[in-house]
Every structure is written in C-alpha cells, then in structure tokens.
C-alpha cells in the first residue's frame, strides 16, 4: 500500500509531504531512537510520539516509508523544516500506537 492510500484510509493529517507514492511494507512502533534504528526496516510505517529533528534523521537513515505521530503528538518547527528538506512524509493521528497498529495490520 502506498503512503497516499494509507493516509486516506486512516484519515491522517498531513504535516509534511515527502514521497506519497512510497510503498509501505511494514510497521514499527517505538520512541527510543537507537532502538528504532536497530529494529525498524526499510519501508516501515513508523509510529511514534517523537516529533523532533532527530526522529526525522532516524527515519531517513532507516528509509521508513513515513512517520505517523500518534495521539496528536507535536511536530517541532525545526523538525518540520528538516523533514521538508529531506523529503520525509510526516502524518498525524489522534489514535494511539496500538489502535493504529491494529488498523494497519488489516491494510498491508
């Protein structure tokens, strides 16, 4: 499933637009950045509350398909600028990681 379809199906808010045609091949949830770097796979949808510049860097390094900020977590201004510059898609939901994970498992 492409990021664009995922956004529509889950009713996600778009905070930054990267490659909306990127293919979502998996999903990973976590907020500890080193842990995420170690475990997330390329193509993963990454569920987190970390809306800072370092999360953007981790997403780029891991080649995540997109970031979904869960539970309406905030996105820093510097992170927004960096994400736009690096082509990282950041979406946002009111739901928590569990609820989103359940829904995503039915989609991909």
């Amino acid at each position: 499933m492409k990021v664009n379809e995922l956004k529509d199906k889950l009713g996600l808010e778009v905070l930054t637009e990267g490659d909306l045609n990127a293919e979502c091949t998996g999903c990973y949830s976590g907020d500890l950045l080193s842990w995420v770097m170690s475990k997330a796979e390329a193509g993963d949808i990454w569920l987190t509350v970390m809306g800072n510049i370092n999360a953007v860097a981790v997403s780029v390094l891991c080649d995540c398909a997109c970031i979904i900020l869960t539970e309406k977590a905030a996105l820093d201004d510097t992170a927004k600028i960096k994400a736009e510059a690096q082509g990282v898609t950041i979406l946002r939901s009111e739901k928590n990681a569990y609820q989103l994970g359940v829904e995503i498992s039915k989609l991909i």
């Binding site: 907020d31 500890l32 950045l33 080193s34 842990w35 770097m37 170690s38 390329a42 970390m50 800072n52 510049i53 370092n54 999360a55 860097a57 981790v58 780029v60 390094l61 891991c62 080649d63 510097t78 960096k82 690096q86």
Partner: protein
Amino acid sequence: MDSIRLHYLVPGDDFTRAGAASSDVKRTLKELGVAPSVIRNVSIAMYEGEINMVIHAGGGDIDVEITENEIIMTLADKGPGIENLELAMKEGFSTAPDNIRCLGFGAGMGLPNIKKYTDEFRIDTKVGVGTTLHLKVYIQ
C-alpha cells in the same frame, strides 16, 4: 577505484546538526551504487557515533575512507572518556542525562548498535583524554 576521503567536524551540544555527517556519507555511498544494506549499516553506526559525541563529548572529528572493499570510519573526541567500557557496551546501560532521554536518546543502545552494524570495531578510550572509535564495514 581510488579511495575517497571525507572529513566532518561534529559540533558539540547541537542536536540540530547531529546526523549531518551520516546523511552526507549515506548520499555519497548511494551515488557510488553501494548496496542498501551496507549503506544502512554505515549510516546507523555513524549516526550513533555522532550522537554520542554531541551528548557526551562536546563534539569531535569524523574521518571516513571509502575504498573498493570497505568503508573505514574513525570517530575521535576529546571528551571525558569511558570509565567502564564493559558496562558501556551493555545494551540498556546509559549515562545520558534526563534532558537527553526526553529527546529519545539514552536507551543505552549507542555503542552496542555501532558494534552490531560494523564488521570491525575497536574502541580506544582514556578517562580525561577522550575516545576514538575505529570502525570498518565491508562492501560485499
């Protein structure tokens, strides 16, 4: 091919610029057509190293050499050094302060991740003098 040498200065206490060196190396390796799995290993190891320099050592220097067969990284800082290397290498052990943990770091995975994602890993550290990591990732 001739080897490519890159040098980066990692500023201390500036999280907004941490990751600049690893991103640049990632881009260079991509342009050279290096396998994605190798690029990932190099990027993660370097980013963890950069973050360690910012959190613990007030910055440092990174030298990268890309040859036909391997990527050699040397990360040197003049920080406080590591008191107990055995503990520092243990997953989950961290001396990072709370304000760093709020940023999502301090999971105690930095050095273990660097070791995990490199083919050769050597660490020289001396309390009060600094720490140097010597890393190699093979290009298959």
